[in-house]
């Protein structure tokens, strides 16, 4: 679905990404790991074109994102991509529910009714029903994170990008979020998540290890069940 071809990215003449290439297939669950500052987030932003790249191409269903005009790109992000970040960010002047449905309303692809229905269903599924009218600052970090997953899902995106989605969460909340991601992937959602927690990466079908701006290693798991131990071993080898 997404083909990344030799992208490079530098800040102030400092190469952060250096000729990175890989492919994400429909239904994939890609985990991205690597030391802090290695360029994981940058990779994520580059693929979704929130950062422009200094070289290379990103093909999304055959279309080159790096040459798309900004207005079209934002339309693309709106309808085909969903984003979740470490500190779930929401607009402070809207209630949780309105924050969730806002991208749906902007997209104008479906009726308001359908969007609201879907939002309610998503909230129920994420077990945050009842928080609809709350202020963004009146809910817990885990609840807010699940609400942002709802928001990311409201337009039935084709791929979900997550950057340290559990970084600010405690263990119980992390489990909840992981379960949801696993479920979504089972249903066919393509997911790419950056994380430094092996527990999270262990849910992925494919893990990229970024170091010095390059994919230092890549591991695909054949079985879908618990491969945390397997991953740990792999990581140990990589870091020593």
């Amino acid at each position: 679905m997404i083909k990344v071809e030799q992208i490079s990215k530098s800040f102030n003449n400092l190469e952060i990404l250096n000729n990175v290439s890989f492919e994400i297939k429909r239904g994939d669950f890609v985990g991205v790991m690597g030391p802090s500052g290695s360029g994981k987030s940058t990779l994520l932003y580059s693929i979704s074109q929130m950062d422009s790249v200094s070289g290379g191409r990103i093909l999304f269903e055959g279309r080159n994102l790096s040459e798309m005009p900004e207005v079209e790109l934002s339309e693309f992000r709106l309808t085909k991509m969903g984003f979740v970040f470490q500190n779930a960010q929401m607009l402070k002047n809207l209630s949780i529910f309105n924050n969730i449905i806002l991208p749906g309303l902007i997209a104008k692809k479906e009726t308001v009714h359908i969007i609201r229905e879907r939002a309610s269903k998503l909230m129920k599924r994420m077990e945050i029903e009842g928080l609809e009218e709350r202020d963004v600052r009146e809910v817990s970090g885990g609840q807010l994170q699940r609400a942002s997953i709802c928001r990311a899902m409201i337009n039935n995106p084709e791929i979900l990008f997550l950057d340290e989605p559990t970084g600010a969460l405690n263990s119980a909340a992390t489990d909840q979020v992981l379960a949801i991601l696993e479920d979504l992937n089972h249903e066919g959602m393509t997911i790419m998540t950056v994380t430094h927690e092996p527990r999270v990466a262990a849910k992925a079908k494919k893990v990229l290890y970024i170091q010095d701006g390059q994919i230092a290693a890549c591991k695909e798991f054949l079985t879908v069940t618990d491969h945390e131990r397997e991953l740990d071993k792999w990581l140990m080898e990589l870091t020593h």
Partner: protein, 776 residues
Amino acid sequence: MKLLLNLVRKDFKRNKVITTALAVFLVLSALMMAGGLRVTGAMISSVKGLNEMAVSPEYIQMHKGAFDKEALDHFVEIHDYIKDSLTVKMLDVRNANFIYQGETLEKCLMDNGFVVQNNGFDFLLNMNNEIDVVQDGEIGVPVFYAQELGIKAGDVIIVHEGDYRKELKVSTIIRDSSMNSALASSKRFLISQSDMAEISSYMGEWEYCFEFLLKDGASTSVLAKDYMDAGMPSNGVGITGSILRLMNTFSYGLVAFIIIAISLLLIIISVLCLSYIIRATMSEEHAAIGAMKAIGFPEKTIEKLYQIKYSILLLAAAVIGYSAAIPFGDFFSSSVIRYCGSGSGEWMKWVFPFIGIILLSLIVLLECRRIIRRNLKSTVVELMREEEQIKKQGHYSLPSRGLKYRNLTIAIGELKCRWKEYVVIFLVFVFSSFLMLLPLNMKSTVENPSFITYMGVGQSDIRIDIQYTDNLTKQKDAVTSYLENDSEIEKAAIYKNGYVQSQNGLGEWEYIRVENGDESVFPLEYLEGSAPVGSKEMALSYLNASELGKKVGDSITVKYQGADLIFTVSGIYQDITYGGKTAKAAIDFDENDVEVYIVYLNVKDGVSIAKKTDELRTVLTVGKITPVNEFVAQTLSGIMDDMSLVEGTAIVIALLLIILITVMFLQLVTAKEHSAIAIKKVIGFSNRDIRIQFGIRILVIQFMGIVVGTIFANSLGGVIFGLMLSSMGASKITMLVDPLTAYLLCPAAQLLVVFITVIVGTKVVEKYHIRDQIME
């Protein structure tokens, strides 16, 4: 200290735009403050200087006709509070008798006369404020004409009557402490004794001014009363020196007054902006301040840091403002200096602005300290966890029918939740549109044909004054019969003007000018009551009514030819002519007592007023023929000239102000909403969408500001204009707005300027990235 300065430098670098905007604000207020005070200083020095050098009279009684010179001398002798007296003989000459550059002075409204240099006091001064001397064949021209017609030394003025012609070379431009201003309706030309003798044998009519200087402590009202009681010659108006000074101050002081008013408003706006900026940067820097506090920076040092920052800005603003005020103030005081000279108190224009700037600095510094102190009170923990400090702002809801205009809905929704942040910018928008509109509206009011109703007459096209002739009645008859036979004239009415005496509230006898004629031909709008009907009713001008203490329905006694006449006050109207003191009643003036016949006429539709004026001027050589709109313009010419000057400045300042506030506001608000912008981008808003949202928010606020400003300019502006004109005799002015400029061009210009500023100022949005939010 070095550390502090270092921190300040960093701070300047970091907040470049804000700091610059703030600096410009401070410079502007300093400039206006210093400039206004410089004009004030220059004006006081100038007017005072002229009055001192020329020794202006404290009381003037005009008189036409013969008088008993011995009785007058006796009167002066027995009243020992009179310090000095003078009889000025003025030869009134019709404007048609003057020719300058091939044209007569007929288009000028002023009454002109020749005088010789006075002895003792009331001197006519040259441009160096020295007592002027003219040789035979030379003429000194009032500065008013130098200004209006561009007459300069070396030019030639011809006076003629019949076959007689005399060329006079303009030797100097003269300053006249009593009749300088455009508001004084006569102007004096200075000629030599022998020329006077020659000219007076061919033309003109003698008019006398009995002028008095009083000893310290004596009052002019005592003199006026004694003068009247003694039956001294008084066929004409009596004017006190204070009225003359008022007239001067009014025509010269207006600009200073307006500039100071603007500067006061600007200072308020600056302080508002300053406190807004301090609060905004403080809330942005809460974390930094918290950190400073946490690592043990004493509060005093932090306070000092901010104070140094604002003191440096202020000092720079003060220096720049003061220096810039020098050319600025000189530009606006150039007119008073031309009319009155520099005067002897030139230190005032240096010291006044200095004091003003110091006061301004104090106000700003104290305000700064107050805001900083209040902000520093918060504890370290509060500062660090600023997020929780921000109160819930409230929500807006999304329409249930979907987002048809997404940017509009979001922008309006956010505006609804955060309107408090927009109060300052709203006020600035109100202020600037008010500032732009007020002079514009004043001008359009004065230029509107119906403004003539504030001059005590109904709306008409042309006015003809018949005066200065031995045979007034015959001339009047000639004019009326000509007009009756002119088929291009729709209607005309003739009014007889003369003086009667009336007792004011203090029991002093005063002359009032009474107009007698058919008041129904050109109906006038009355403030109260209605036009006089029959021979027992009298209408009073507003100023007269208030001075005489009369209301509609009161009875009023006036003296004419020694007899008491009793009238009922039928109505009160506004009039800014003749010092604002006029009346309308059917008083049958004796032919010799008629001061002037005034004819008002309307031409038929399709007839050009200008052409008719020219035609009448060639035919009716005795009368002074003026199109009414020109009459208004000339009466107020002094004010209107200043107004045009102020208008230009006001437009520049207003536009500059809205650009500044918009830039500053955008800078602060985008910084503050950094995270919201980043989120919007993530969920699929384009940069363009976000910029449009900012644009809508600001333009909506601006639109409301313009509406409010426009309402103010029409209502409050009318009050202000009324106040300005009230000393002249108008009390209730309705602004006559030119809808095209006021409601279309002006708002459009302002909106356009802000629109462009928003386009430039929101460019920064493109740089905002969700990454920077996560890193926090």
